[in-house]
Symmetry: D2
Subunit: 328 residues, 4 copies
C-alpha cells in the first residue's frame, strides 16, 4: 500500500509541475505581472488639532519611510482611517504620497467602497492619482448576503474595468467577514487580480490559498506582523503590516531573514514583534499605532472621532508591550 501511495504522490507532483511550467509559458506571452514581494506599511493619516488631514506631517513621515527598504506603501488600508475620509480626501492623500515616493517603490491604494459602482469609480480616480495597484476590501454591511457569489461578482466587475491591477483584501476583524477560500481561488484566475492581503491570520487558510492558487502566480501578503514569519514559511511573499509604521526597519530585517532561509534568527526577531504588533492592532488599535509612531520619531497624532485617544492606562500598557520586548 505504501508503494501505491508513493506512486500517487509522485504522479500528483508531476502533474502539478507540468501545469506550473505551462502556466509560466502562458504568462510570459502576456504582460509581466507586477511583483508585490516585500514589506509595506499601511500608512497612518496624520490630522491637525481640528481633525483636518495634515499633509505636511504626512510628507515628513514619507521622507522617513523613504530611508527604509520597503517595497512600497499601502495608502488607505484600515490603519489609514479611510472610512473617516471623504472621497476627495482619499484621492488627495494618494496624490500627495505619489509625489514624494522614491522611484521604484510601489503605491498601492485602498479603493474599496460598499457598492460596486462606487468602488469602480474610486479605483479609476486612484489610478489617475498615481496608484500602481489597488487594495480592495470586501464590502461588508450586508454581511449575510456577502457570499462567494456576490463577492466574486463584485471583484470581477471591478477587475474587468480597473486600469491597474487589483489586490483582494480580507480583514475580518473590521468587516466581520472573511473572503471565502473558494472565492479567492476563483478570483485568482482573473488576469487583473494579482494577489490577496489576508489579515485574518489563519495560517492554515493562508497555506491553502498558496496551495490552491499555485498555478496562477497569485501573490499572498500577510496582513499583520504577528504571523509574518509563519506566512513566509507557508508561501507568502510579503506583508502589509501596521507595525511597519513604527518598526519598519525591523520588519524589513525579518523579511530578509525569512527570504534567505535564516529561520533561527528570524524566529527570535519575530517573537519580539508579536506583542508590540498586537498592541497597535487588535488590542489598542489605530490610536495606539499613532501613539507608538510618536515614540519612534514619526508623526502619529490623534485620530478622527469617534476614535478616542488612549487612556493613561492604555498608554502604559502600550509602552510595556514595546519595552518588555526590548524596543523602548
Amino acid at each position: 500500500m505504501q508503494c501505491v501511495r508513493a506512486w500517487r504522490s509522485l504522479n500528483y507532483l508531476c502533474r502539478v509541475a507540468h501545469h506550473r511550467a505551462w502556466k509560466r509559458t502562458q504568462s510570459h506571452t502576456t504582460a509581466a505581472r507586477l511583483d508585490l514581494s516585500g514589506i509595506y506599511p499601511p500608512i497612518a493619516t496624520p490630522f491637525t488639532a481640528k481633525e483636518d488631514v495634515d499633509y505636511q506631517k504626512l510628507e515628513e513621515n514619507l521622507q522617513k519611510y523613504a530611508k527604509i527598504p520597503f517595497k512600497g506603501l499601502v495608502v488607505q488600508g484600515s490603519n489609514g482611517e479611510y472610512p473617516y475620509l471623504t472621497v476627495e480626501e482619499r484621492v488627495e492623500v494618494v496624490r500627495t504620497v505619489k509625489q514624494s515616493l522614491p522611484a521604484g517603490r510601489l503605491l498601492i491604494a485602498g479603493s474599496g467602497c460598499e457598492s460596486t459602482r462606487a468602488t469602480i469609480q474610486l479605483t479609476q480616480k486612484m489610478a489617475a492619482a498615481g496608484a500602481d495597484a489597488v487594495l480592495v476590501v470586501t464590502p461588508c454591511f450586508y454581511k449575510g448576503k456577502m457570499d462567494s457569489r456576490a463577492l466574486i461578482h463584485h471583484f470581477t466587475k471591478l477587475a474587468d474595468s480597473s486600469p491597474v491591477p487589483v489586490v483582494l483584501y480580507s480583514v475580518p476583524a473590521n468587516t466581520g467577514l472573511e473572503l471565502p477560500l473558494d472565492a479567492v481561488v476563483e478570483l485568482s484566475q482573473h488576469p487583473n487580480i494579482l494577489g490577496v492581503k489576508d489579515s485574518g491570520g489563519d495560517i492554515t487558510r493562508i497555506g491553502l490559498i498558496v496551495h490552491k492558487t499555485k498555478a496562477q502566480d497569485f501573490q499572498v501578503l500577510a496582513g499583520s506582523a504577528g504571523f509574518l514569519m509563519a506566512a513566509y514559511c507557508v508561501g507568502a511573499i510579503g506583508g502589509v503590516c501596521a507595525l511597519a509604521n513604527v518598526l519598519g526597519q525591523e520588519l524589513c530585517e525579518l523579511e530578509r531573514l525569512c527570504v534567505s532561509g535564516r529561520w533561527e534568527e528570524a524566529r527570535v526577531l519575530q517573537q519580539r514583534l508579536i506583542e508590540p504588533n498586537a498592541a497597535v492592532t487588535r488590542k489598542l488599535g489605530v490610536p495606539a499605532l499613532k501613539q507608538a509612531m510618536e515614540w519612534f520619531g514619526f508623526h502619529g497624532g490623534s485620530c478622527r472621532s469617534p476614535l478616542q485617544p488612549l487612556t493613561e492606562a492604555e498608554s502604559q500598557q502600550l509602552r510595556r508591550d514595546f519595552s518588555s520586548n526590548g524596543w523602548l
Copy 2:
C-alpha cells in the same frame, strides 16, 4: 423576611413613581418631545435597470404607503441600501419623500456615517431636506475600539449640534456590534436624544433599556417585526420593521391589538409574521424584501451590486415562507 422584602419593594416603587412624576413636570416646562409611537416602514430604494435611483417608482410606493396608517417613514435605514448611495443621493431621496409625505406623518432619516464629522454634516443636510428626526447607526469599522466611551462621545457630539432630535440605532447583524446598554442609558439623558431603534432582538435587553431609562421618557422602537409583540409587551412604543414595506396594514393591525391589550389576537397575528419577516431580513435580506414587495403590489426591483438577485431556489423559499403562513 418575606415581610421585609415586601416593604423594600413598596419603598422602591414609591421612589420610582415619585421620580417619574417629577420628571414629567420637568419636561412639561421644556419643549414637548416628539412622540414616536407607531409603525414605520424603513423604505426600500427602487433602482432602474442601470442601478440609478428610480424616483418615479419611489413616489408610486409612497402613494401606496400613504393609505396605510403608519406613524411615518424611515428613510435610509438598513433596508434602504444607504451604504450604496452617495451623500447627494441620500439627501435627494429624503427630499423626494418629504414632498409626498401626508401631513402629520413623521420622516425619520438615516444619517449615520463612520466619522463623527461626516455624521454631523449629513444630519444637517437631512434636517434641511425635511427630516423630523434622524436615525443614527453606530459607527462600526473599527469595532474593537467602538466601546461605550467612543460611542457616547460620538452621539453626544452629534446630538449637541443636530437641529432635529436623534434616534440611536443598534443593528448588530449589519454592524457586528451592539450599542452597549450603559451607553444607551447614559445617552438617554441627553435632551436631544429621543429614543433607540433596537434591531438585535434580545428581548431581555429591550426590557432592561425600558426599565433603566424610564425616568427619561426615552422611546424604544423594535427594529424588526419578528419580536414586535414581545417588545410592546415589555414596554416598547413602536416598531421600524422591514416587513412593513410588504405587509404594512397587518403590522399596523398588530400594533393596534398590542396597544389595546388584545394579546390573544395579537399572538395569532404575530406568529404568522415571523417567517415572512425572517425571510426578508436575516435569511434572504434586501433582495428578498424587494422581491416580496413586487408580489404585494409595490415596486421593489433589483438591488445595487454587490447585492445579487435571489436564485430560483431562494425565491421559492421566500414564497413558501409567505404562503405557508397564509399570505400568498
Copy 3:
C-alpha cells in the same frame, strides 16, 4: 388585493383551527399528557466544605421551596452543577428530592449525557428514582457534528426507550449550540416528547416554536427569568428559572400576573427581575446564584472546583444588582 389577502388569511385560520380540533380529539383517545405549566427552580446542589453533596442542607432548602407555589422542581439543570456530579450522585440527589417532594408537584430530572447510550441509561435510573419527566440537554462536545440529523436521532432513540416523558433542553450559553428549530419541530411530533426548555432567550425563535408546534400540544418553557414575561406573551406556558432559587415567590407572582392577563403589573415586576437574574446567570454564574441564596435565607454555599467563589468586587456587584431593584 387587500380582499384576496383577507380571504387567504381567513382560509389559513380555518385550516389551522380545524387541524387543532382534530388533534385534540386524537390526544383524548391516548393517555393525557403531563401538564408542565408553571414555574420551576432548577435547584442548586449544596456542598460541604469538602465539596461532598450536603444532603441535609438540600433537604432544608426543599422544605422552604415546598411553601412556594412552584409547579415542581428541576433537579440537575445547569444550575445544579450536574457536570460535576458522578452518575451515582446525580441519581442520589434525585432520590433525595423525591422523598421530600409534596404531593402534586413534579420532579423533572436532568439526565443528559454526551452519548446516546449513557443518556438512555441515566434516564432509566432517573425514572426509577422517581422522576416524573426528564430534561435532556443537547450533547455538545462534537458541536460541529451536532446537526439536526444527529440530534433528531439522539432524542428519538431516547424518547423511544424512556419510561417517562422527555423535555428537550437547549442552553447555548453552556453548550455552544442551539437545538435547531427544524429539529424541535420534528421532535415535537414524538408522543413521548412533551416540550422544550429554551434558555437561549431569542424571543422570535420561541414564538416560532410555539407557532410551528401548535398542532402537537407541545409545551414551551422559558429557560430564564429575564424573558419570562415576553415568553408568556408569545405563548410559553411556564419557566425554569435559576432566579427561582432566590426569588421564587416573586416569579410565581409574575406567572400569575401573566396568566391572568395583568400585563401592566407584570411588566413592572418583570423589569425589576432582569438585573438580579442576569447577575445570577450570564454575568456571575452559579457562584453568584449560591451567594444570593444565602442572602435570601437558603443554603447556597460554595461550588465544586473549578468554579471559584465570587471575588469581593463581584459580590458587591451582585448585591447592587439586587438592591438597586429593591430586593435588598
Copy 4:
C-alpha cells in the same frame, strides 16, 4: 535613534540568553523533563456493531502504528470519542494500549473531566494504567466562569497531585473556550506541567506562547496537521494530529523535514495535507477520520451515537479531499 534601539535590542537579547542559561543549569539539577518532541496520533476508538469498544481491532491498529516512527500515542484526545466512554472504558483502553506499546514510546492519556476532583481521580487511574503523562482539556460547561483564575486553580491542583506530568490542552472547536495566554504562561512555571497541546491554530498565539515561556523549557505541541509546519517554524516541538491516524508516515516525514530545516520540501508536503486534515477534523469530524482510516488500511468503523455515519455526499467530499491532493 536607530542606534539606541539597536542597543536596547542587544541588551534585551543578552538578558534573555543569560536567563535561559541559568534556567538550564537549574533544570539539570532537578529531574530531567520528559522530552515530548515528535508526532503523536490521537488514536480513534474502534467500536463493534453494538457500539461496544472493540479491543481486538484496537490492537490491530496499534500493531500498524508500531511500524510508524511516532514519538508515542495520545489515547483519548478529542478524536478518541472520550466523552462517550465511561470512566471504566477510558481506563481500560489506556491499559490495552500500554500492553501493546513498543518500548521507548510515550503513552499520553487524556484524563480531563469537568470537575477538578474527577480529573484528579481519573489522572491517578491513568497513571496506574501506564500513562507516561496526561493530556488535560479545559473544563468548559460553565464557560462564562472558566477564566484564568478558575483554570489556573484547576490545573495547579491537578498538577500538585498528579503522579505523572501534565500537558495542557486547549481545543476551542470542541470546548468553546481557549486557555488564556496568561494562564498558559503562569502554569508553565509549575514543575509538573510540561507543555501544551494547542488545537486552536492561531499561529500568532503559538509563537507568543513559545516566546513567553522560553525561560521554562515549556513544550508546545501543534494540535492539528493543518498548521504543523508553521508551528515548527515559530518554535513548536511536535504535533498531536488526527490525520496521523491515517497518514502517519507522511506526518513523521513532515516532522523530519521541518526539524532538519528542509523548509522547501516541507512546504510542498504540508500543503498537500491541509485539505485531507480539514476533512477529518473541522469539516467532517470523527466519522470522516474513521472512514479515511478504513481506506488506508486501519480499522475505523462507526462512531458511538449521537455521532452519525457520513452521508454519501460527505463521503464523496472526503474522498475528493484526499484524491485531489494525490493521496487516493
